[in-house]
């Protein structure tokens, strides 16, 4: 059996090589690139320097773009949570054919490309599109309003993209709450609000925490949505990084910006995890 086990360990080699060579090495490469001097003709030079970091961290313009990216992602994660919780709750109570149908409804957007889904919002929010016409028909607005190329649409489309990532972990956590726990507290006279606040919400936290972190990390680095729906007026970190890499060909500067974005994301996630640590501990107890 020892031999069989060694054989099995060997089977992992191609995957390890794949991840190491095409992911770990490239990201190390990016770190190295951020210390290179700018090139005269090529995208980068031969020598090393700290100039990109002093430039990036010393310029309030970059801090502003970074703040916009971090805040937008925070808003997206929060809105995602608000939208996803009822869906996850509803899904966790369904079973059989109904559950299968609901899973399909949630998975279909997940398996459709981000670009396609963003394009859908361009049609929905067009001046003579279904959203404006419905709101006018309902008498909520009198004039059609333009949502395309605004920060609002970027946030709306990002929430739409990430809802499935939030619904699935929360749904799993909710399914683990025993029904009789809820029934017991209701029969002991707990109000609807108390049951939600003291039982459902804390016990669903093991799903909420990873969901929020995942959506935040994905939203901070999302490129397509701001590029397609944000227009030229609003710059986010990912659109700026890609412009440096493919437009102006300043690879070292683009790398420094990417590292600035990564470090600040790690910092935010770290703070969030620390702040919510005690809540998680309480749930485990």
């Amino acid at each position: 059996m020892i031999k069989a086990k060694h054989l099995r360990l060997l089977l992992g080699a191609p995957a390890i090589v794949l991840i190491f060579v095409f992911m770990i090495l490239p990201i190390t490469n990016m770190v190295e690139m951020s210390f290179r001097v700018p090139g005269a003709v090529d995208p980068f030079g031969d020598d090393y320097t700290l100039m990109h970091y002093t430039r990036v961290f010393g310029d309030s313009f970059y801090w502003g773009v970074l703040a916009r990216s971090l805040l937008t992602a925070g808003g997206v994660a929060l809105l995602c949570l608000i939208v996803s919780f009822p869906i996850a709750w509803h899904l966790s109570k369904a079973s059989g054919l109904k559950a299968a149908l609901l899973y399909a409804l949630i998975a279909s957007p997940l398996m459709t490309g981000v670009l396609v889904r963003n394009f859908g919002w361009m049609i929905v929010t067009a001046l003579n599109g279904p959203l404006n016409e419905t709101l006018i028909a309902l008498g909520i607005i009198s004039q059609p309003f333009r949502l395309l190329f605004t920060q609002g649409l970027v946030i709306l489309a990002l929430v739409h993209v990430f809802v499935p990532f939030m619904v699935l972990p929360i749904n799993n956590a909710l399914r683990n709450i025993p029904d009789n726990l809820v029934e017991a507290s209701v029969s002991m006279g707990a109000s609807r609000y108390r049951v939600f606040r003291d039982i459902i919400l804390p016990l669903s936290f093991p799903g909420i925490q990873p969901g929020v972190i995942l959506v935040y990390v994905l939203a901070v680095a999302a490129y397509v949505t701001p590029a397609l729906l944000g227009g030229q007026m609003v710059t986010y970190m990912p659109t700026m990084i890609i412009a440096e890499l493919t437009g102006t060909f300043r690879w070292p500067l683009g790398s420094a910006l990417a590292i600035m974005l990564s470090l600040s994301t790690i910092l935010v996630v770290g703070v969030f995890t620390t702040l919510t640590w005690r809540l998680m501990e309480r749930v485990r107890a």
Partner: protein, 270 residues
């Protein structure tokens, strides 16, 4: 009192307000997709929803456009190769992961899902430099490697989940009857995990078909994948042809969802 019970226990009717909220949220999830499909069949000249009449003219227009069709063909080809390669490598890796235990197993799991956990943007930027350095910059092979990397975790997770359902006693029984490792894998394990393997291939294909950022940075000279071609198209011409192209992509993913549902059930897939 009964209000509290209806809200939180199974099988009892929920309030009208909650039902309305749920319906609205599902409308929110599906409305962009429905609008695209609807708009692609318009007989008019503009992208609009509800569509004006019914026609297939924009599909004809799509297939007459070289740039879009070339994009579709490149996406299909890269997606198919991605599905095949990732499924083989991921099956091997899943067998390896199963043999590990304790802390090592956790680290292996983390390593194998890394491309999913690190934002695509960072991987794409790193790969742009790395492929340039090793001479694969702006080649189809470079793009292909990026897609294989990004789709690998989907196949790995599906196949690992399938492998967990196979009792280890079957392996031992097969070995004690004198079967070689390869025979045990071919005749016992593989047939049992086949639904998971196929599901992994479907996820890998669809993920590859939808990738954008990594394709943008690694795109080969003169070659566009369908999402890249569609983005360019949308920037210059906002015509229903784009809706037809997007509908083709939606149909592919709906077929994928239906296949996964039939094979293993979505509930277990997620």
């Amino acid at each position: 009192m009964s209000g509290g019970a209806t809200m939180f226990t199974q099988q009892r009717p929920v309030g009208f307000g909650f039902t309305l909220l749920i319906v609205l949220l599902y409308v929110f999830l599906l409305v962009p997709l429905v609008t695209i499909v609807g708009a692609s069949f318009t007989a008019g000249l503009l992208i609009e929803f509800p569509p004006r009449g019914f026609s297939l003219q924009w599909y004809r227009e799509f297939f007459a456009r070289r740039d879009l069709v070339d994009g579709l063909l490149l996406s299909l080809r890269v997606g198919a190769i991605t599905a095949i390669v990732t499924t083989i490598v991921a099956t091997m890796a899943a067998l390896c992961g199963q043999a590990l235990s304790g802390k090592r197993s956790g680290w292996f799991q983390l390593g194998m899902t890394l491309p999913l956990l690190v934002p695509e943007l960072l991987t794409a930027v790193g790969l742009l430099f790395f492929l340039f350095k090793i001479g694969l910059g702006k080649t189809v092979l470079g793009l292909q490697m990026g897609h294989i990397l990004m789709s690998f975790p989907y196949a790995y997770v599906s196949i690992t989940a399938a492998l967990r359902q196979v009792p280890s006693s079957l392996d031992e029984a097969s070995a004690s009857l004198g079967a070689t490792h390869w025979q045990t894998f071919r005749m016992v394990t593989l047939p049992l995990i086949m639904p998971g393997v196929v599901m992994g291939a479907i996820f890998a294909f669809i993920n590859s078909f939808d990738l954008y950022t990594i394709s943008l940075l690694l795109k080969p000279l003169g070659g566009n994948t369908l999402p890249l071609a569609l983005f360019d198209f949308l920037t210059y011409e906002f015509k229903p042809t784009a809706a037809a192209a997007a509908t083709i992509s939606i149909v592919l993913s709906v077929i994928g969802v239906a296949l996964v549902q039939r094979l293993v059930g979505l509930q277990r897939a997620f």
